[in-house]
């Protein structure tokens, strides 16, 4: 009986402690976004075309998981398309960022006006 009490005590303590460890599911899907941004900043060996592929994959993976893509992914991808000379896709992704995150609208419009 005493042993049982002790077991119950230990188990309930463990449960209380573990409640503190509960992690919530992230709101957005990031994939390799931060790595892609880091590569861009460092201007390392990763060519722009490959950085585009990485971000297109992030977007496809997010869709596959039914999760919204992180803020900035479409804007960053748009910038990469502009840099590779594909202005249509650049505008496309800039507009996508605006649709998903209206907070970005004025800045994106500022960028579009500068580029045209």
């Amino acid at each position: 009986m005493r042993f049982q009490n002790r077991v119950i005590c230990v188990l309930s303590c463990a449960t209380i402690l573990m409640l503190g460890c509960k992690t919530t599911e992230p709101m957005y899907y990031y994939g390799n976004y931060s790595d892609a941004v880091y590569s861009y900043f460092k201007a390392d060996e990763t060519p722009v075309s490959q950085q585009i592929t990485i971000l297109e994959e992030v977007i496809a993976q997010a869709q596959g998981k039914g999760k919204p893509v992180a803020p900035g992914v479409h804007a960053h991808l748009g910038m990469l398309y502009f840099e590779s000379g594909n202005n249509d896709q650049g505008i496309n992704h800039f507009e996508h960022e605006k649709t998903l995150f209206p907070e970005s609208a004025e800045y994106i419009d500022f960028l579009i006006n500068k580029s045209s």
């Binding site: 503190g20 709101m27 990031y30 941004v37 900043f41 803020p71 900035g72 800045y107």
Partner: protein, 225 residues
């Protein structure tokens, strides 16, 4: 005393000690009144000798701010916009008037960062990579400081003293990753530093932003009062 009891006491003492040292809670009244929806991360001032540090820290800023419920302006694009306007030095960017920043980005708030420490020091047996960042959040409509924080993370941290939970797991994950990619420890550690600094789940982190399910609820440190 039986060894098992001794172990349990030590374990409980270790757990309790992790809870005692929490610093005083922030006053969030200014933050709450400003109610920012979007945050502009400015290129950080770098006090370390690592040239790569600002890039690494900036690349890891998005997740903790976005997960707290705010829109984060795309950091590389923002950096490019400053460069295209002749601003290549962080100190100069930090000196740009808030009205000008608001005019271009229409961001509600800007995050001014300083990298206090970044790098690896080699001690006898093991090496230790430390990333320490301080931050000030400024309301771009008024120029008021609405939040300040400082955080540090180190590769020397182990499961035992990291406080468990999310950060503990992050530390563990980063340490595992480090084994695979020895070259960029700083990048992994920066992710932990930034999460500690900013995440609304952290004591004295950001408030819960409008895109968070917890928007409007008290900050983590306010709940602990």
């Amino acid at each position: 005393m039986k060894p098992i009891q001794f172990t349990l006491i030590i374990l409980i003492a270790a757990l309790i000690s992790g809870c005692v040292s929490a610093p005083a809670g922030h006053d969030y009244s200014g933050f709450r009144a400003a109610d920012p929806h979007s945050i502009l991360v400015l290129p950080p001032i770098n006090k370390s000798t690592e040239v790569i540090a600002p890039y690494s820290v900036m690349s890891q800023m998005v997740a903790p701010i976005a997960e707290s419920g705010f829109y984060v302006f795309p950091v590389a694009l923002v950096d490019q916009t400053f460069k295209n306007n002749g601003l290549t030095v962080a100190n100069d960017i930090h000196a740009v008037p808030v009205q000008k920043l608001y005019e271009i980005f229409a961001a509600d708030a800007a995050l001014y960062l300083t990298i206090e420490e970044y790098g690896t020091s080699y001690i006898l047996i093991s090496s230790d990579t430390v990333v320490s960042v301080s931050a000030t959040l400024v309301d771009l409509k008024t120029g008021n400081v609405i939040w300040q924080g400082v955080a540090k993370a180190s590769s020397a941290e182990t499961r035992g003293n990291s406080g468990g939970g999310l950060v503990g797991m992050l530390v563990e994950a980063a340490v595992n990753q480090i084994i695979e990619t020895v070259t960029d420890r700083g990048f992994d550690i920066a992710a932990i530093t930034n999460a500690r600094l900013l995440s609304s789940k952290m004591h004295n982190g950001l408030l819960h932003g409008p895109r968070s399910a917890s928007y409007g609820q008290p900050a983590t440190s306010e709940k602990q009062k």
